[in-house]
């Protein structure tokens, strides 16, 4: 069978295969049943506050992945706030820091879809097996609310020690003291360690602080954990419990509800430094609202075993941090598709085959205004410096590397300049494909030298047009989500590309180029 005839068949086969695979997975997904003891939850944060200046900071902590809990989807909306950094430290908390851009009322909502497992089948990401000297010092520290150095704490510890037989478990006794001897307080109950120990009554957080103070006074590192107990509740109140370093691992204790060393699986840790889940600096009127809702079984969490073939194709099972990178990679072929369309069907010429795709991709993940600003400035600076470098008559590789270095410096200083102008750039602007930009500068320069500036600008315009169209397609969030859910849908991409590869019709630009062959044309000066 010749190539021309085989092509539609191959494309059809790929489309069929794609339909079967996507269909099968969509069907099994619908049929998903959760194993017994497993449940899906949606935890929602709604945050509102006021600021009078730009630059106020909102810090929100996000739930940890533990053996019992896995966040499989996360969606944070902050229309007027600029992300400062995404924290993923395992020590204190995961979360996000946001800066306000304008004064006024500010909003943030965050939704987490969480898979809870009673059996603890997930890979925990928060396990520490040793404690550094610095961390040990931190978790033995005395502060305003956990007054480790206080006489009251020392005396209480002394009393507990006295009552504990030499072979007894001092840790267990301290916990029991806080659970049994300290009463749950009324509304006015103290919230600090000393107050709670003195009054023998305290708020839940007071009892937790008392236990931490006792442990630390006994030279055992201990910390407060803030989090949620996942129950269908709106509003859902944050809880505080204690983790104590056993020498090998952190052991949880909940003096309020009497759980020692083992917590029910629906305890969800969010912060491990005693701080509030959402905090605001230089703002006022903070209102936080948390809610938990049980979800029906759905995509992203299922029964699929870790090693099954279906699980291999299910990318949502991967840790959240990998989602963004994988979505980005999955979008690349779509960029290729757009480029192929422009080149073979429309006939627009560009600098480099994938240059427009990569530029568009970097704009999708940076704020596009920053992206365009940096892009234009880098291109201008690159061209000026390239013209200058030409006079030095450098060999190719050192010359290209010089341009690359200048491009890198230019991007870095652009980011710094934007920051100085209080235009708080997205750090992702740095994602601009620097090597590709360098090659574009070199090609632009050579083309304008060899084939004229007009032609070089024509190519540049083509590159920008294709990049813009790539950008429009790539930022279509639904495409990204669908591909992440069903990566096998790229079989359709291949099918379309194969069909395009055998397209022998005219390019749109050729209809213009050969317009003199239209019927309006009568050959001039016919040969005698």
């Amino acid at each position: 069978m010749n190539a021309r005839r085989a092509t539609p068949w191959v494309a059809c086969l790929l489309v069929l295969l794609g339909i079967v695979l996507v269909g099968l997975r969509a069907y099994t997904r619908r049929e998903l049943q959760l194993a017994s003891g497993e449940s899906l939850w949606r935890l929602t944060y709604t945050v509102k506050f006021q600021t009078e200046t730009a630059g106020a900071r909102l810090s929100a902590a996000f739930p940890f992945d533990t053996a019992h809990c896995r966040v499989f989807r996360q969606n944070v909306l902050h229309p007027e706030l600029q992300p400062e950094r995404l924290r993923s430290s395992l020590m204190a908390s995961r979360g996000i820091d946001l800066l306000t851009l304008y004064p006024g009322e500010q909003n943030m909502t965050a939704k987490f879809d969480i898979h809870l497992s009673r059996r603890g089948r997930f890979r925990a990401h928060d396990q520490e097996s040793s404690l550094s000297a610095q961390a040990r010092a931190e978790w033995l520290r005395s502060d305003k609310l956990v007054q480790v150095d206080s006489v009251v704490v020392a005396e209480t510890l002394q009393n507990i020690r006295r009552e504990t037989p030499p072979s007894g478990d001092l840790m267990q006794r301290m916990f029991e003291y806080c659970h049994n001897q300290i009463a749950a307080g009324e509304e006015e109950a103290p919230t600090d360690a000393v107050g709670t120990l003195q009054k023998k009554a305290g708020a839940p957080i007071g009892r937790a602080r008392a236990l931490v103070a006792l442990c630390r006074a006994n030279k055992t590192p201990a910390r407060l954990v803030t989090g949620f107990v996942m129950e269908e509740n709106d509003p859902l109140e944050p809880r505080t419990w204690v983790e104590v370093w056993s020498g090998k691992r952190w052991e949880p204790f909940d003096p309020e509800n009497g759980f020692a060393r083992e917590l029910p699986y629906n305890y969800l840790a969010v912060r491990r430094d005693g701080g509030d889940i959402v905090r605001v600096a230089r703002g006022s009127g903070l209102e936080t609202h948390f809610a938990a809702l049980r979800l029906p079984p759905g995509p992203g969490a299922g029964r699929s075993k870790h090693h099954s073939l279906v699980a291999l194709a299910d990318l949502t099972r991967l840790p959240l941090e990998m989602h963004e990178v994988l979505s980005l990679i999955l979008l690349l072929p779509i960029g290729g598709l757009v480029t192929a369309f422009f080149r073979t069907i429309i006939g627009i010429r560009t600098f480099g085959t994938f240059t427009p795709t990569l530029i568009a991709l970097s704009f999708v993940f940076a704020d596009w205004r920053t992206g365009v600003f940096v892009f234009v400035l880098v291109l201008l600076a690159g061209l000026v410096s390239r013209t200058f470098l030409d006079r030095l008559k450098l060999l190719m590789v050192p010359r290209l590397s010089t341009v690359l270095t200048l491009v890198v410096l230019c991007i870095i200083f652009c980011v710094s300049l934007l920051d100085m102008l209080r235009l708080t750039p997205g750090a992702q602007a740095v994602l601009l494909p620097m090597v590709i930009l360098t090659m574009t500068i070199e090609r632009f320069y050579l083309t304008s030298e060899e084939d004229g500036t007009g032609f070089a600008f024509q190519l540049l315009a083509g590159t920008v047009v294709v990049a813009f169209c790539c950008y429009l397609v790539l930022r279509w969030a639904a495409v990204g989500r669908f591909l992440f859910m069903f990566p096998e849908a790229h079989l359709f991409t291949i099918a379309v590309l194969i069909l395009m590869g055998r397209y022998t019709g005219y390019r749109l630009t050729e209809l213009l180029r050969f317009r003199d062959f239209g019927p309006a044309h009568k050959p001039t000066e016919p040969r005698p």
């Binding site: 190539a3 021309r4 073979t344 006939g347 008559k393 060999l395 190719m396 590789v397 050579l446 060899e450 084939d451 004229g452 032609f455 590869g501 055998r502 397209y503 022998t504 019709g505 005219y506 390019r507 050729e510 209809l511 213009l512 180029r513 050969f514 317009r515 003199d516 062959f517 239209g518 019927p519 309006a520 044309h521 050959p523 001039t524 000066e525 040969r527």
Partner: protein
């Protein structure tokens, strides 16, 4: 010059009816099936093309020196001391990029055919950029060829500005299907490259006489700089030129190629290079599409392609509109 008021575009059906070949179809139906990838170096590497020509007695510009390494550049002044005129070109260049034609020099200062004056250091830098692969197809290391400058034939005196015209013959299955002569203009800075503004005139395959013309994809019939008509010129040595083109196409074993010639005042047609993806502007110059001619050849019986019978095919093709 004739400019044509009319529509801004043509419909695909109209182009198809006129037999216009588009880039996609050229690549998918002719270049890809007819030109085996493994033979591409024979046309992409000018040194290799030259070797093929020399082995078959097809005239090519005499090679004075080949500069392969940075170290060889030091010897450059010695290579050209005895040569008042010469051409420097990259072995794997394309589209006329990186070619410098030196019209006179005193081993210190070099005057190009375009009138620019270059220092020896600048010539050395130029050689070094060629070697580093600036003009080569994939950006790989390249070689610089220093070769004879062709003295252009008097036939073209009035219609070539600042450079040497060249003659492109497109061959399919070793049969010439279309030909044109490309004339440098001021806009093309003395180069015979159409996308840089050179003018092309069609050549009647049977007679070797020019007709029609194209500049920047638009139909014209006079040289834009001199105003001389580019119509009705007889290309000297036409028969010899077609023979050489066919011999070379057979030797290269490429089914669909364009062969570029220049006419030397004494030797006659000299092969400059061959191209595995010849451009499509030749159709505008000829005011006729390539597709019908290629399809015509595709349905001919194999015996029609015998060297002795090719003249019949050429005659038939030249009558096609």
């Amino acid at each position: 010059m004739t400019t044509r008021p009319g529509r801004l575009w043509a419909w695909p059906g109209e182009l198809r009816a006129r037999g216009i070949l588009g880039i996609n179809r050229r690549n998918a139906d002719f270049v890809l099936p007819a030109n085996p990838r493994s033979h591409y170096p024979r046309v992409d590497d000018k040194l290799l093309s030259k070797k093929f020509c020399e082995e078959r007695g097809i005239p090519v510009p005499e090679t004075y020196a080949i500069i392969e390494r940075e170290g060889d550049i030091r010897g450059f002044p010695d290579c050209v001391r005895e040569r008042p005129q010469f051409v420097i070109k990259p072995a794997s260049g394309s589209g006329g990029r990186g070619i410098t034609v030196v019209a006179e020099h005193d081993n210190e200062k070099f005057r190009t055919s375009g009138g620019a004056e270059l220092e020896l250091a600048e010539m050395r830098y130029h050689l070094s950029t060629i070697i580093s692969g600036l003009y080569s197809l994939g950006g790989q290391q390249d070689r610089a060829i220093i070769e004879q400058r062709i003295i252009r034939h008097t036939a073209f005196e009035r219609i070539a500005v600042g450079g040497t015209p060249d003659i492109r013959v497109v061959l399919y299955r070793s049969v010439p299907v279309m030909a044109m002569v490309r004339l440098p203009t001021r806009a093309s800075r003395g180069r015979a490259n159409l996308h840089q503004g050179a003018v092309a005139a069609a050549v009647n395959l049977r007679t070797g006489e020019t007709f029609g013309g194209v500049c920047k994809d638009r139909v014209i019939s006079e040289h834009p700089d001199t105003g001389a008509t580019i119509d009705g010129l007889q290309i000297p040595f036409w028969g010899k030129l077609l023979d050489a083109a066919q011999k070379l196409a057979e030797a290269l074993e490429m089914g669909y190629i364009g062969v570029d010639f220049v006419l030397d005042a004494t030797v006659g047609p000299v092969v400059l290079e061959a191209n595995a993806r010849p451009g499509l502007a030749i159709q505008v110059a000829n005011r006729c599409g390539l597709a019908h001619r290629l399809e015509f050849l595709d349905v001919q019986p194999p015996e029609a392609f015998a060297p002795t019978r090719r003249a019949e095919l050429v005659a038939a093709l030249s009558e096609m509109k």
